[in-house]
Amino acid sequence: EQYSRVQEEGATDNGNDENDLNRISDHAMAASEAHIMGAKPSNKEAYMGTVRDTHYRKVWNKLERVDVEDVEGDEMKKDKRKKDRKKKKPINKEELIERYSIVNIGGSVIPTFNPAFRIWEYNISAIANDSGFVAEEYKPWDEFFESLDKVMEDSLLEDSLSENEMSSSNNHLEINSRKAEKRKNKKNKKDDKTIPIEMPDKYKLGPAYVPQLFTPTRFVQFYADLEKIDQALHNSLAESKDVFKYEVEYTSDEKPYSMDSLTVGNYLDLAGRLYEDKDAWEQYVEWSFASSGYKDD
């Protein structure tokens, strides 16, 4: 509808309309895709291919540019890197790791592939002998959430107020409205509380980057092999509870993951390996579909 409306009106300001149309079609496609999420899986290998060729390739490219001094590399690697260095500025590995965070997307219980879930293990050693936690010092959250509720309420009120202001000022000062608009945009960006300030230097990297209390150390992926269970059910008269079970599909410390911890640095190294090593990639894709043997049509 939007598309035909814009076509009829004749695109006044091409750029904006173009963006609008792209965004609308983007949202519409996401909606239709989300709707068919319930149907037979399709194009999932193609999706994993884009994960590899966009996200993991970018990481691999950056890892290739990590400054040689940072990494003990063999002579071959050094020479290769020296050549590459002429092309692009080398990257410090710590800085590279720090700019990333990891989005973990879980396997599901619904048998789109095989039913699956995950157990995460995390470091609690420091807390075991940390007698620092005293219940009396515990600070309740009531006050904080009361004030937060007010912040959210006020921001909605502010918006309707500023909207009234803008509309009244625009009515009788048509000529200045463009300036007012510019002023409003600058003001908006400045006081937009949904944009964070940079992390102050006094704060140190947390459990996702440096091994410490609560750093995730390992995970165990469980799955239920429905084909095997269905066969067992038919081959014996056993009860479901004797036949149905989850078993370990894989763990983060076995090949090709071989992760001795689950920090962002470990994940970036894994992404680089998955991009570079075909066998590792194929194993990763098989597990991403919960060992169901899924293939695109």
Partner: protein, 301 residues
């Protein structure tokens, strides 16, 4: 446990489970081509098995959910500290003869929430909020009606979910939950928290989401909540896991929402441990670039 004063053993382990999608219309032996609801199978491969069939396009038979929770109870319950449960507890709306209604969505979510309570609670009659294993649910795009569509609270829907999840959500967060359908759970008091984030407010497929720049937008309000809670957690010296249904990747989120969410995650890297999501059924991870998000955000602003 500061609320109950009970001693609790810490295991250093937690469970992430997602997208259960139990389907009460699933009939064992029916035709897979008829979404496992009816019909005579045309061939052997078209028979709907008892526990469901991978890649068939059918939802979960209820027995699959029950057997999964039984297995968790027998093998994992006493070895974990908390459960992160990231939504979609309802069948897909894929049968024109039995369209999915809002009442069915709420009823099924009630059933699954009761099963999770039964499985992980301490069985303390006086205190339904007393759990042996903390449970942190978040909202899926199939848990709302119409599909994907979820308005900024307080609405009937946000209040309904507060009622369904009342044993999981700390009482002092009722008002902010009514607005945002998001909340904070302290899994180790004063030390470790889990955020249940309503990612539908940033999801491209939600027709009520346009961007995260205007104050009226659900995503803007959610980011206000998100930023304030992160700042408070930092001031208390706590660490935090993020959780939600729709993964915060560029493919799923409106651009301005993706940039802002990724930037918050980057600027609070001193306290955020990681993010756990569902929705896509595929077990994988995506590295997201905070620096790039900042550039993109300021370019677009």
């Amino acid at each position: 446990d500061v609320r109950t004063g009970k001693e609790r053993i810490l295991h250093g382990r937690f469970l992430h489970i997602t997208d259960i999608h139990p389907d009460p219309y699933y009939v064992e032996g029916s035709s897979i081509d008829a979404v496992c609801h009816t019909g005579k199978p045309s061939k052997k491969k078209d028979i709907a098995p008892k526990f469901g069939k991978a890649m068939s396009g059918c939802d979960s038979p209820v027995v699959l959910m029950e057997e999964t929770l039984r297995w968790v109870k027998e093998n994992l319950r006493d070895k974990i500290d908390f459960v992160i449960w990231t939504g979609d507890n309802v069948r897909h709306d894929n049968d024109r003869k039995d369209p999915r209604t809002e009442a069915q969505i709420f009823d099924m979510n009630n059933i699954v929430a009761d099963k999770m309570t039964e499985l992980f609670s301490a069985g303390n009659e006086e205190d339904p909020r007393d759990f042996d294993v903390s449970v942190i649910p978040s909202l899926g795009n199939n848990d709302v009606f119409p599909h994907n569509m979820f308005a900024l609270g307080p609405t009937l829907q946000t209040r309904e979910y507060y009622r369904i999840w009342k044993n999981f959500i700390p009482q002092q967060q009722q008002r902010t939950f009514d607005r945002s359908a998001s909340y904070l759970a302290e899994v180790i008091p004063g030390k470790l928290a889990v955020l249940s984030i309503n990612t539908l407010y940033m999801f491209k497929a939600n027709p009520l989401v346009d961007n995260c720049n205007s104050r009226k937008e659900p995503g803007y309000q959610l980011l206000l909540w998100f930023g304030s809670v992160l700042e408070e957690l930092r001031s208390r010296g706590m660490k935090v896991w993020l959780s939600g249904h729709v993964p915060p990747i560029a493919k799923n989120f409106d651009q301005s929402c993706y940039d802002k969410f990724t930037l918050w995650t980057h600027e609070y890297r001193d306290i955020i441990i990681g993010g756990l999501y569902g929705h896509m059924n595929i077990d994988h991870f995506i590295p997201t670039d905070g620096k790039k998000a900042r550039k993109s955000l300021f370019k677009n602003l």
